[in-house]
Symmetry: C2
Subunit: 195 residues, 2 copies
């Protein structure tokens, strides 16, 4: 049984696709697919435009996070600045826009920390991760529909909180840990970090 | 503007809720909510039963992962064993069941690695994370609808791949990194790990 399965291609082929809900935020599809063993099945999935997230690092050794309430969970999360990609927008541009809109911060230096997929079982969302430094703080003009509370914490404390379970938002955990790894190897300026 | 916003409670209150799609996998809701400033708005969200994920560690220093194709992204992901919580099931029981169903492995020792929230913007999904050791391998009888390829990799290589961007599934990255942190502090048996 185990051996036989390995011989299949793991691909599933689309037979047909139907949009079953179209909202302001969510586009939900139900597709009929052909499984590797020749049977048919159904796949329900969310179409998402993708998002970008950024960890902004100050020369004080602090990082700029924010607290935000999310309705689906009724929880206030500590998060990295992040947001959805607008149609046609480059992911790095989204990150720069969200950093300015949510935190009133611009950064001179940017590096990519790769991507992550938050919900592979039912969403095509990809999140592009960045690290930014050389920060310039100016005015804050948060989005109309967002109630955002900026919070600065020491980079090393943020790392600790991702690992001990205090920070629970997936994109925030991964951005902080990849950023810490990158910083330890490249350190544009010295920050004491332990992982 | 910034000061004024901080005075608001960040909570949003439900006015009404409508189920706009009910599938085999996805339950989609559209709620009308009262914002902290007194205006009304809409929130679209996915109701999810929650999930559990586990990193199983062998005394060889290897961990048991698996490769699986996910339709929404048309990508084969390297993942920790994981699955949805059945109605009324304890999260630890889900983790044990999935480890056995997906990998044919039982574990004598378990520890919790906390939780993560993969999609706070539009889903109420929570994923419970575990580390397991004292493993016993027996037969593999994977789910009917799942085409799963078991893969063993060195724990230290898995850690490296989460940080350099080769592993991109959010729950897998976070389970591996929290497990590595726990292992470095508690090591039931010695494994060389760097982060």
């Amino acid at each position: 049984m185990k051996k036989k399965k390995k011989e299949y291609s793991l691909l599933e082929k689309k037979i047909s696709s139907e949009r079953v809900f179209s909202g302001n935020l969510l586009q939900v599809y139900k597709d009929r697919v052909l499984l590797p063993d020749g049977r048919a099945s159904e796949r329900e999935w969310i179409k998402h435009p993708g998002a970008s997230a950024v960890l902004p690092v100050f020369e004080s050794g602090e990082v700029q996070l924010l607290k935000q309430f999310w309705y689906a969970l009724r929880i206030k999360f500590l998060e990295v600045p992040a947001g959805k990609i607008d149609p046609g927008e480059e992911p790095i541009r989204t990150a720069k826009r969200e950093l300015e809109e949510e935190c009133g911060v611009r950064a001179r230096h940017w590096t990519s920390l790769g991507v992550l997929y938050p919900g592979i079982g039912y969403s095509n969302e990809v999140i592009h991760l960045y690290l930014a430094w050389g920060l310039e703080v100016h005015d804050n003009s948060a989005d109309d529909d967002e109630f955002v509370e900026p919070v600065r914490v020491l980079f090393k404390n943020a790392v600790e909180q991702t690992l001990n379970g205090e920070i629970t938002d997936a994109k925030t955990i991964i951005t902080i840990l990849r950023a810490a790894k990158w910083w330890k190897e490249n350190a544009p300026f010295p920050i004491r970090l332990t992982m």
